[in-house]
């Protein structure tokens, strides 16, 4: 007889191998020596009760009236006696008075002393079948999601070695196979650092999305939108990316065209404006007053057109990230005061009330941020009665400075508020007679605030007025 410890040792290894199935170990007489947890679950009996019991006794727990059947169905008795290896046999088995199909295998073993034993493992066939079907289904689903796609998909191991790649990815890299290659060697050199950074930061936050820009040695640029799922599976990451080069180059071409159109429009406008101004000067006020008035109209509309073209060009350059920002550290309070002062010069009849102090510096392009402030103030004027002041408040909120511009005007209906920052949106209740803006002021203001990682918001109640609030990160740097 083999020592119990030896059995235990062998059994431990085997049960590990068969961890998902019910496994037990029989001696040559069919007595259970060890059973794993799966067997315990299957028979609804604790391991202690199983050990030392004959396999026949356990199996023959079937109801008396079914015993004949059960006996006949008992897979083990005859098989153990015939000492043959059985692989994946199916049979019926009674459990808790309910028949169930099992899929089992029996492996006769023999140690060096010639002592025989059997390892029996089995699964509930219904569960096994379900699992198998769901595996097939999952595999089909996986294949569909992974392979049939407009996006390139790669599965990498923790070192960045590609383990799987879909056909779109192969087409993207223009290769027949990229399995086993390091993903970092595949992308063009320029821009690889950005990719590496993204990959590293994805490791910390599990999912990372970003547009990336690479340039080939020949100068060709490559744009991709990339998502990295670093905890896709243990030790594996999934990279999904889309080649956006064509779209971006097309957009650039369109922007270039619009910029050119803008430039070409401004050149004749310069001539129209100059001649109009010259005529206004030459025509003496004593002459037909209508002429001067008409010329003023031409002059104003020329300015409006200029504002529109400049707004359009700013929007294009902001969108493409090409609008130059000349940032400097400046006192926020001073910037607001100066902007209000300049506005007051051109709008002498308006009342501005400035309150609060931040005593903080911000790092911005004085001209661009000044434009945001004056846009908000001129908007406030447009929507308020003439006699009501525009209240301008400055304060510090955490690491931000806040500027609120409040008017006591008609307010903005809720349904209009969402559209307020859209290009060329104009509320229905603008004050009559105010100079029309380009319709791009708030749109550009939001773009500028985004550039500075700040915010712009509006709070408004119909007939009670509106408050526009901008928040800008403050800086600890000293102004020069």
């Amino acid at each position: 007889m083999i020592a119990r410890m030896e059995w235990a040792d062998r059994f431990a290894k085997l049960s590990l191998l068969h961890a998902s199935a019910s496994v037990f170990f029989l001696d040559e007489h069919g007595v259970i020596q060890f059973a794993n947890e799966g067997a315990q679950d299957f028979f609804h009996l604790p391991v202690e009760k199983l050990i030392g019991t004959s396999i026949h006794a356990v199996v023959h727990k079937a109801p008396r009236k079914d015993r004949t059947h059960a006996q006949g169905a008992c897979p083990f008795t005859q098989l153990i006696q015939s000492n043959v290896q059985v692989m994946r046999h199916f049979d019926i088995f009674w459990r808790d008075h309910v028949p169930c199909w099992i899929e089992y295998s029996i492996n006769p073993i023999q140690d060096e002393n010639g002592t025989k034993a059997y390892v029996v493992s089995f699964l509930d066939a219904a569960i096994a079948l379900r699992e198998k079907n769901s595996f097939i289904e999952n595999e089909a689903r996986y294949k569909l999601i992974f392979e049939v796609s407009h996006d390139s998909k790669l599965i990498l191991n923790k070192d960045g070695i590609i383990e799987e790649a879909n056909p779109v990815a192969l087409a993207f890299f223009k290769k027949n196979s990229i399995i086993g290659e390091n993903v970092f060697t595949l992308f063009p050199k320029e821009g690889k650092t950005a990719f590496h950074k993204l990959f590293q930061s994805a490791k910390r936050s599990s999912v990372k999305l970003a547009p990336l820009n690479f340039s080939h040695a020949n100068g060709d640029e490559l744009f991709v939108e990339m998502s990295i799922f670093s905890k896709f599976l243990p030790g594996k990451s999934l990279i999904i990316f889309r080649d956006t080069t064509a779209r971006i180059l097309e957009q650039r071409e369109r922007d270039r065209f619009l910029a050119l159109v803008g430039h070409e429009l401004k050149t004749p406008l310069a001539v129209i404006k100059a001649f109009t101004q010259l005529l206004i000067k030459i025509i003496a006020p004593t002459e037909d007053a209508r002429i001067s008035r008409y010329l003023q109209h031409i002059n104003e509309k020329t300015d409006l057109l200029t504002g529109l073209i400049n707004g359009m060009l700013d929007a294009i350059y902001l969108g493409s990230g090409k609008l130059p920002f000349h940032d400097e550290v400046i006192s926020f309070d001073q910037l607001v005061t100066e902007t209000v002062f300049e506005l007051q010069k051109t709008l002498p009849h308006e009342v501005f009330e400035v309150s609060g102090e931040t005593k903080s510096n911000v790092k911005v392009d004085k001209h661009r941020f000044g434009q945001v402030i004056s846009n908000l103030i001129t908007n406030a004027i447009k929507y308020s009665p003439v006699s009501e002041p525009v209240e301008i408040a400055r304060e510090v909120e955490g690491t931000f400075v806040r500027l609120s511009i409040r008017d006591h005007g008609i307010g903005i209906p809720k349904r209009e508020q969402a559209k307020l920052f859209n290009p060329f949106f104009r509320g229905r209740h603008a004050r009559e007679g105010t100079a029309k803006g380009s319709g791009l002021g708030l749109y550009l203001a939001r773009q500028v605030m985004r550039h500075y990682r700040g915010t712009i918001q509006v709070e408004s109640a119909y007939k009670k007025g509106s408050t526009f609030t901008v928040e800008l990160p403050l800086t600890q740097e000293e102004s020069v």
Binding site: G262, H263, L269, A270, A274, F275, L278, P324
Partner: protein, 132 residues
């Protein structure tokens, strides 16, 4: 226009380079209104030819010219010992005007379309500061 030294001996000579004939004409008219003596050039070649004979009191340059660009002319003027003190004003509808003005060391710039008053104001201020 060429009678520079006859009637307006006290007047200041302003050279304007712009390939747009209409703008050139209106700028000249406006400056004449303010008692300046403007001379217009359609391109760099004629400008260089004239400046070598008569040095003006200020120069107004459009950037987008056929041939040598206005900012290149400004750069040359500002790096020459003879013209470095000459006030140079760049005018353009170009979006990168401010950078080009900075790079070429021009004294001032005006984005097209600009008001005639602002052009006169800029020229006036350069001329009066030179007088002082």
């Amino acid at each position: 226009m060429e009678a520079v030294f006859s009637a307006h001996t006290m007047s200041q000579l302003i050279y304007i380079v712009d390939d747009d004939a209409s703008l050139l004409e209106v700028l000249q008219l406006a400056l004449e209104e303010h008692d300046y003596i403007p001379i217009g050039f359609a391109g760099a070649k004629a400008f260089w030819k004239k400046i070598s004979k008569h040095k003006p009191d200020a120069v107004v340059l459009d950037i987008g010219l056929d041939g040598e660009q206005g900012d290149q002319i400004a750069k040359k003027l500002k790096s020459s010992s003879e013209y470095k003190d000459l006030p140079v004003i760049l005018i353009s509808a170009d979006q990168s005007l401010s950078q080009k003005a900075k790079a070429s060391k021009a004294d001032s710039y005006l984005a097209k379309p600009f008001s005639l008053d602002s052009l006169v104001y800029v020229i006036d201020s350069f001329i009066s500061s030179r007088k002082e």
